[in-house]
């Protein structure tokens, strides 16, 4: 039983990281109907940027809560700016172009970010210091959870709840939802669509940055090409949950994390990805727009 619970803890940790990244995909998709293939690489970029900020500002000052918070704030801000630039330069000129052109542009942007990381930080794995968070380990009846894991779980839940409230209870949130449903109508209602899209990219990128930093702190080793893997998993999570749907992304991320952990733990880790995509296909066969996605009837 403790082995099972341990797998649940493992799954939820990685699942919350997927969920944070998935939110970035789903928000952009909801508004622009575009798979932002560069999002995973933004996540990777945030880990590298965060590491550089940490080592340059707090070179030998050791760690403090302030140091960690500063790193998170700075990194999130930088990645948000990159995200906005990404939209301005690579996506906005293509808003009226065929949908697939924007997909290629996104793939190209991912390549640019990934290779910029490689040129700036080099092809080698970079390693986060192990003392950003205390290395405390809590053992509850044989189920082990580290301080970092706990932080990941708590922080991502807080961020997700905050985002949910922001989208559903504030004026900007309402505007975002309006733009997601019908851009033209929203424009007629006086909503500045460009501003909304900018906000989407700021929030999505900042959440991705938080995920990237957590990945760095938790797993320590970061590589320039790691964005692809996290991106793909998070994207699958967003689709399983129902792309465009914010609670869907959260649900999808957690579900995928759990599913992966249980498959790897009880069936075979060698076939984990196969099972992931089987799950995706099964979900889509029964719910073509994802578990929490709404059914869209096409107007004829």
């Amino acid at each position: 039983m403790d082995i099972f619970l341990q797998q649940i803890v493992n799954g939820l940790t990685i699942g919350s990281l997927y969920a944070l990244v998935a939110l970035g995909y789903t928000m952009v998709y909801g508004v622009m109907k575009l798979i932002n293939f560069a999002h995973g690489d933004l996540v990777a970029l945030s880990a590298f940027a965060g590491l550089t900020i940490y080592t340059s500002i707090f070179a030998d000052g050791g760690t403090s809560i302030i140091a960690v918070i500063t790193v998170f704030m700075f990194t999130a801000a930088i990645i948000a700016v990159v995200g906005v630039l990404l939209e301005r330069l690579a996506y906005r000129p293509l808003r009226t172009a065929p949908r697939l052109s924007a997909v290629v542009s996104a793939l190209g942007a991912g390549l640019v970010i990934q290779n910029s990381i490689m040129l700036i930080w080099g092809p080698n794995m970079k390693i986060f210091p192990s003392d950003l968070f205390p290395s405390t380990i809590y053992d509850i009846n044989g189920v082990v959870i580290t301080f970092t894991q706990l932080m990941i779980l708590i922080f991502s839940s807080v961020l997700m709840i905050a985002l949910y409230l922001f989208i559903n209870k504030t004026k900007i949130g309402t505007a975002i939802r309006a733009v997601a449903i019908d851009q033209d109508a929203a424009k007629l209602m006086g909503i500045n669509v460009n501003k909304i899209i900018m906000i989407i990219f700021i929030i999505g990128s900042a959440l991705g940055a938080v995920a990237g930093l957590f990945i760095g702190i938790y797993y320590r080793g970061i590589t320039f090409d790691m964005g692809w893997m996290y991106g793909l998993n998070a994207f699958v999570a967003a689709i399983i949950g129902g792309i465009g749907n914010i609670p869907g992304a959260m649900f999808g991320g957690l579900m995928l994390g759990l599913f992966n952990a249980l498959i790897s733990g009880y069936i075979s880790s060698a076939w984990a990805e196969t099972f992931t995509f089987m799950l995706l296909i099964v979900v889509l066969i029964f719910r073509p727009t994802g578990i929490l996605g709404e059914k869209v009837a096409e107007k004829v």
Partner: protein, 375 residues
């Protein structure tokens, strides 16, 4: 039509130019086929740097047989398909010998081309199958997987007396090969492998597999893959409270292993070919010093040194035979006994295998230094 033809004609012209470009006979060309980009880029770049260092030094001293040497590098990205293209390209450049590649897969994909075109090749690839063809052009400058596996198995079963051994690898041909032969050897030694698993390199989260392993209560975990995963496995193993010794294969021997594993690195056992620090060869220390002086860092691992040894052996053979005929050089190399390389004495077997390589088991100390603990 109007736009298409000139473009294609231009590309054909570019190709034609490239044909005529490289055929000057007054330089000796040495090919380097390594991953300059991609996952193994740092190893590939380090090998390339190492080769260039040796060649530069030699050129400064007047070259070889009165000729200057030139390095031609081709990036195979660690992929078989690109390796095949590189092989043709280097053969075409008229290189005397090729250093590389770093990965066994890319080496094997290029091997036949070099053999057919009588071009010497020396690689650090450890996959057993590399010497299976008995090509006279091929020389392994490292060691065979199965030799390491036999040594490891003996050590785990006989010296340490482990009762429940878990073997993990990633999907790379090298790691799977090493894990498979390790399992075979452990069984042959009468040991008990309770689980053999695979992890996907780079996924970073190995807790699912480790949690499963935890329930089996092993006393040793042997990992045959690379340090980038090994360090994390070690760290996550300790987080999950799995009380088993961690034994890493040769590719875990990298300073980054310690950084990734953090405090958990202490007590980890690594099996490898003797690293330069532990060899009484001044040549190794001189090489590392020179390398550091030129590039401002140490070689990324022992593999660069292995390849440089392969290169040195070939250069030595050229010097002794005063010949640029590859068959003559090959014959000389096959007869060579205990050539003093920077990674130890070099002797090649008939099939190009480097023999009599010794292995050590290191225990990582609290200060991240190594201590040899095998008898």
């Amino acid at each position: 039509m109007k736009n298409m033809l000139p473009k294609l004609a231009a590309s054909a012209a570019v190709c034609a130019l490239l044909v005529t470009a490289g055929s000057a006979a007054d330089v000796i060309k040495i090919g380097v086929q390594v991953p300059i980009t991609g996952k193994y880029a740092n190893e590939g770049q380090s090998i390339d740097d190492g080769v260039k260092l040796v060649i530069d030094q030699l050129n400064a001293k007047g070259g070889l047989l009165g000729k200057q040497l030139k390095v031609v590098t081709c990036d195979d990205e660690g992929k078989a398909q690109k390796a095949a293209i590189c092989a043709r390209k280097l053969v075409n450049e008229g290189v005397l010998a090729v250093i590389g590649s770093y990965t066994s897969g890319a080496t094997e994909a290029a091997q036949t081309t070099y053999y057919r075109n009588k071009t010497l090749q020396t690689s650090d690839g450890t996959s057993d199958s590399l010497t299976k063809h008995k090509y006279w052009t091929f020389f392994r400058n490292s060691f065979q997987n199965s030799a390491q596996a036999t040594f490891t198995a003996k050590y785990l079963v006989k010296e340490k007396g482990y009762k429940k051994i878990v073997v993990i690898s990633d999907y790379s041909s090298y790691a799977v090969g090493l894990a498979d032969s390790a399992v075979k050897s452990i069984k042959a030694e009468g040991g008990n492998v309770i689980y053999q698993g695979k992890i996907k390199s780079g996924t970073q989260n190995f807790t699912a597999v480790l949690t499963k392993i935890k329930s089996m209560k092993p006393d040793a975990i042997y990992f045959s893959g690379y340090y980038t995963d090994g360090g994390l496995i070690r760290a996550q193993q300790e987080q999950l409270g799995i009380k088993a010794d961690f034994i890493g294969g040769d590719s875990n021997d990298n300073p980054d292993f310690m950084k990734l594993a953090g405090k958990s690195a202490k007590g980890t056992l690594l099996v490898n070919f003797p690293t330069p620090d532990f060899l009484p060869y001044d040549a190794a220390k001189v090489f590392i010093k020179d390398y550091n002086a030129k590039y401002g860092k140490d070689p990324s691992s022992v593999w660069a040194l292995m390849n440089v040894d392969g290169l040195n052996a070939i250069l030595h053979a050229v010097r002794k035979t005063k010949s640029l005929d590859t068959k003559t050089i090959s014959n000389y190399l096959h007869a060579l006994k205990d050539f003093p390389g920077i990674t130890g004495p070099i002797t090649f077997r008939e099939d190009g295998e480097r023999i009599n390589t010794k292995f050590n088991v290191y225990e990582i100390q609290a200060d991240n230094s190594y201590k040899i603990i095998n008898k």
